[in-house]
Symmetry: C2
Subunit: 693 residues, 2 copies
């Protein structure tokens, strides 16, 4: 084995096994400053130019956990209905339920300003890896190193924020192997232009969520204003007039939230054995009591729907992810990959010394994590206090505590760069329904009592009373429903908070110390260890492989690509697109009943609709939660669809990509035009989109 | 009245009424840098030299709330037994009760190091009034002004602390009219040399406390060490060999805690109607349950005595102060004085504009104060959590919170200058008795429940359980009895505190926000207003009167003076001194029973004692709580006695001085020598004191 030629051969063989080379597949959520040029050139004969990437980036919009894009030179923004749902619900009242009726502003004057919404466009990317990693002194503990990095990161973010309406965020890539500074332009005057009825936006409901074939018109249109006028820009995506054919290359620009393809076995086992089981049980519990609440009446149903979609969506997704981790083959593959990489590292004394202990150190950290995951989830992550009021109270309390500290010493979410958004969120006039909050808080307190009965804080909060009674008193007593009360506390700082008689503020103060203790434990014993060792593993990969494998998703802008393509499921061919004919057919077969009921408008306008027009389609383009609302463009950079889902087989791709049956699901650009024109009589909107205006 | 001559006449007449000119009496606790030279010269023909003052200052010792002095060139320190009591008790155990047996170290090797004791000597005084008041910007609110002053004060104190073992403290005089920076040298190696038996130190017990004639040998001797050796210095007080005769001038150097002679009517009414009634009721309650505890057995009695003396002493003192405020004549005199000063101010448009509103603003602040006095007393002042463990827990919690802040932003007691003392106190190995702590905490929680049942924090803490059960669990659960546990929390900072499972730490965290809120309310709405307006009143006085009236006591070093002098009480003459004959007689008449029981040694050694030797004596020298342990010197600066009490008539002098029947009470220097030689066989100690060694 000491023959160098043999060594090289073994190494090459190992590499072939270890690293799934992306060239062979459509895998990858690529950094915008490192697009997969060679792959696109080789596999699709497509040449990526800097102009193409810049234009697509500036036309892409972050919805904070989801995606969207400019689709007109007048600030018109397209995303999914389920992304815009919060806005639609916040603009609804008991007597004007826009979820039910849909909404269309025929003129700009009719557009509805959305409370508390903030959109962002990524205007700059800079590699700051050397600066951030340069802050670590050799021989420091993971916690000390994390503190040193955080100081540099805070300073970089502060510098980037500079003028009002800007935001700098340092993004940690490859678990700490790379740091990029992203600079955003912020937009906070966002108005609702168009939303279809919930029935057709979420046609098939929770039952069809994460499945295909689908027929959903899952879209919403907003308009960004600046200084009271529609925001004008050339950085928008022109609408394709030709649509897509099977086999076409499509490119997707969006904000995938997180993937776990580079996680170690220790991390995967933690998810499988601790985190996912907790989350699934918790979501099922919420789902159950919210259905019960919704069943009490129409208004209760409207209110519960605000949370129910998100819960059921997360639940289905998490069950899908977990199915991947429970799949022995998938896990065996991950194990082989990890073992091979570790074997490669072990071949070299230098590599072994520098990177060898990384996996075991992470595994030990995950064990520690599991030991306090439950109190962390209930306290710091507030699962024990599931009400909007508590979220507000905690924000007020922590804002008051953090703001006086030097920027770099604050909890990350209260750094200067984030404060304007935090304040905007806190002072949002979005409605809150006390009855519903009592149900949510009551059940989460009950869970707290069941799961952590011996914690002193739990005994204090409940004091032998029923969780429901405690919840009722807290919700009845809080004045935080009043925006002025929130503003007063925000302005009054710590003294006002300490002097507040508001029971929710008092609750937030009571749980703050133990919550911070748990957070520190997580940051010190888990996060810092994961980052230090994730960095080592990434550096080992960079040494052995370069950076040909894109980093795991981080909620920031990424480019993915793929072919428009059907697939075969259980021996049956699934077509690459669906049509209006299919939509009407599906509804009719179900007797036009829930969840396949169509809005009245769809029935009355049916004669006008060209039933052959495609509604939804699928592609192999890599995506995950957060990509909702992502525009898909063709080779010319033209809009062909908006991503709104993945099929059920796509869920395990969180851990291992595959493109045989895993698909992203889009609303078709032509379907959108057909519906707007024929069903919604929205010709002015279509004219704007198609540039006929 | 516009004739200037008449105006001047009226002014002069008013002044004569308003301001009790000290020249006519022995009133005054004088600043060491502004001694009453003229008065002493005029009334006693005594010339005060700078050398005299410097020597007396450097020979005087602050016991932190009490006084003492160097009495030998080898670091021997004399104070009262009741001042050294905590040390004597902390050095006692169940099997070695030094309170009962007394203690005498025949050699330096036998001297016992006192845990946690810190003594100070005032080595410098500087007037920083201009710097502190110069920090206030014109037109700021009282709170802003207070913040600005605090920043300057913190900086001055920090600068003065300089080297280790030093401490700088800015003292607020005349309620803010004057600021002096006091620099102290600290001594923390203090050893017990001699203590008599409790029976003779506190002969007559609570019954005779604050009365005269008295026969108490209320002394204790310590020795200060530096670098492991007795501290050598020429700044000690030589012992008088001649004693005192009636009419002799005596000078007293000590640390009077606080007086209220310059308080406004608003402040006096607050004390009378709110503060004193609360304190008296609270102390009576503690007294009652401690007697009940003491009655359970000898060991319980020993333990309860630790707190009982202080409680009964405070109770008697407070009742005495209150008797002054309930005396209509006294209050009418204060009202006349205030009205006259206000009238003088009102005569001048300029004075009225600058100082006129001061009294009403203070009165309004006192009204506000009364409205939240109770929660303030129970929470921030910890009357609801009366256990040593809570004091420790709060110190640990607040130290962790305050230490990371910039020095000037911290709660005052956690500024850099104070931290070493705070830490030393926290890590003191002084014993704690859990049974007793349960009783104390249980009753204070019960009071909390009775007085503030609707406060959310009270409901949380008690949660429907009995205060006794809650107290028992808290005391049983806390690990703070272990010094290492305290040290670990102290070193671990806020993260360790937040992660602590200690129930007492959790309790301190729970009550911290509301406590701080109340403290801020007090500081902003009361203290800042009192200071701003106290400053105005002082400045008005300075303008009209100069600084011929000394400031109220502030716990810092002051000089007072007076004559050795008996008095007439209810028509009966009370002699200026008592003798050993009187001591034995009093005990015999009471059948040598409690509280007039004498230690066995006194009986067996009686034949050797010169019964004509004086034991205690009285003087008109001005004093108040905090003066305990003050040395009294004659014209030559020689030690003639150590102050240990005032008679009952002296208590209302807190508000108005008088010297007809009000007296300070001293142990006589010759009585001390007689007892040490004849009863305690302490010839080496006497030789050291008398310089025969």
């Amino acid at each position: 084995m000491n023959d160098p030629k043999i060594r090289r051969f073994v190494l090459a063989a190992l590499l072939a096994v270890v690293l799934v080379l992306p060239a062979s597949s459509d895998e990858g959520m690529w950094l915008f400053n490192k697009p997969p040029k060679d792959i696109l050139q080789k596999k699709y004969g497509f040449t990526v130019t800097p102009e193409f990437m810049d234009h697509l980036r500036l036309a892409s919009i972050s919805f904070g956990g989801a995606s969207g894009s400019f689709v007109s030179p007048e600030g018109l923004v397209l995303t999914n209905h389920h992304v815009g749902r919060g806005a639609v619900q916040n603009l609804s009242t008991k007597d004007r339920d826009l979820m039910k009726t849909g909404f269309y502003a025929r003129t700009q004057a009719e557009e509805l300003k959305v409370p508390g919404m903030e959109l962002r466009v990524l205007i700059g990317i800079a590699d700051v890896t050397d600066k951030v990693l340069g802050a670590e002194k050799p021989g420091t503990t993971p916690v000390e190193a994390a503190d040193a990095r955080q100081k540099v990161i805070a300073a970089l973010e502060n510098e980037a924020a500079g003028t009002a309406g800007m935001r700098g965020t340092v993004v940690t890539l490859y678990s700490g192997g790379m740091y990029h500074l992203y600079t955003y332009k912020l937009y906070d005057d966002v108005r609702l232009v168009f939303a279809p009825e919930y029935l057709v936006a979420f046609f098939g409901g929770d039952q069809d969520n994460f499945t295909y074939p689908r027929y959903d018109l899952d879209i919403t249109l907003f308009r960004i204003y600046e200084n009271g006028r529609p925001f004008k820009s050339d950085n928008y995506i022109k609408w394709s007039t030709t649509g897509v054919r099977e086999g076409d290359l499509v490119l997707c620009s969006g904000h995938p939230g997180s993937t776990g393809r580079l996680l170690t076995m220790g991390q995967l086992e933690f998810l499988r054995d601790t985190s996912y089981p907790f989350n699934i049980a918790n979501l099922k519990r919420r789902q159950a009591y919210m259905h019960a609440y919704a069943a009490q009446g129409e208004e209760q149903s409207r209110i519960a729907m605000r949370n129910l979609f998100g819960i059921e969506n997360s639940l289905k997704a998490t069950i899908g992810y977990q199915s991947g981790l429970l799949d022995e083959k998938l896990l065996a593959k991950k194990l082989r990959e990890e073992q091979s990489l570790r074997a490669q590292v072990a071949k070299s004394t230098d590599l072994e010394k520098a990177y060898g202990p990384a996996w075991d150190e992470i595994a030990a950290a995950e064990k520690a994590y599991a030991s306090f995951f439950k109190p962390l989830a209930f306290f710091e992550r507030a699962n024990g206090f599931y009400t909007t009021y508590f979220t507000m109270a905690r924000t007020i309390v922590r804002m008051a505590m953090e703001k006086p500290k030097p920027n770099a010493d604050r909890l990350r979410e209260f750094r200067d760069a984030s404060l304007p958004s935090v304040e905007r969120g806190l002072l949002s006039p979005a409605p809150i329904y006390d009855d519903f909050e009592v149900v949510k808080l009551g059940d989460s307190l009950a869970q707290l009592q069941e799961e952590l009965p011996d914690m002193m804080e739990v005994r204090w909060i409940l004091g032998g009373r029923s969780p429901q009674d405690v919840a009722r008193d807290l919700i009845a007593g809080t004045k935080l429903k009043d925006i002025d009360a929130r503003k007063k506390l925000l302005d009054g700082g710590l003294t006002a908070v300490y002097q507040s008689q508001d029971p929710m503020i008092k609750l937030a103060l009571l749980v703050d110390p133990v919550s911070r203790g748990l957070r520190a434990r997580y940051e010190d014993q888990v996060d810092a260890v994961e980052t230090r060792n994730g960095t080592r593993i990434a550096q080992a990969m960079f040494k052995l492989e370069g950076t040909s494998i894109p980093p795991d998703a981080t909620g920031t802008l990424r480019l993915s690509f793929g072919a428009v393509k059907g697939y075969v499921e259980n021996g049956r061919k699934v077509a690459f697109q669906t049509t209006f004919a299919g939509l009407y057919d599906k509804s009719a077969k179900a007797g036009n009943k829930d969840p396949y009921e169509l809005p009245a408008r769809f029935i009355t306008k049916k004669p006008a609709v060209n039933l052959a027009t495609p509604v939804d389609f699928v592609s192999t383009a890599d995506s995950i939660g957060g990509n909702s609302g992502s525009p898909l463009v063709n080779r010319k950079g033209e809009f062909v669809g908006v991503l709104f889902d993945g099929n059920i087989q796509s869920l395990p791709t969180r851990f291992v990509y595959e493109d045989t049956i895993s698909r992203s699901v889009m609303v078709h650009g032509q379907g959108i035009i057909e519906a707007l024109l024929k069903i919604y009589d929205a010709k002015p909107l279509v004219d704007e989109i198609l540039g006929r205006k």
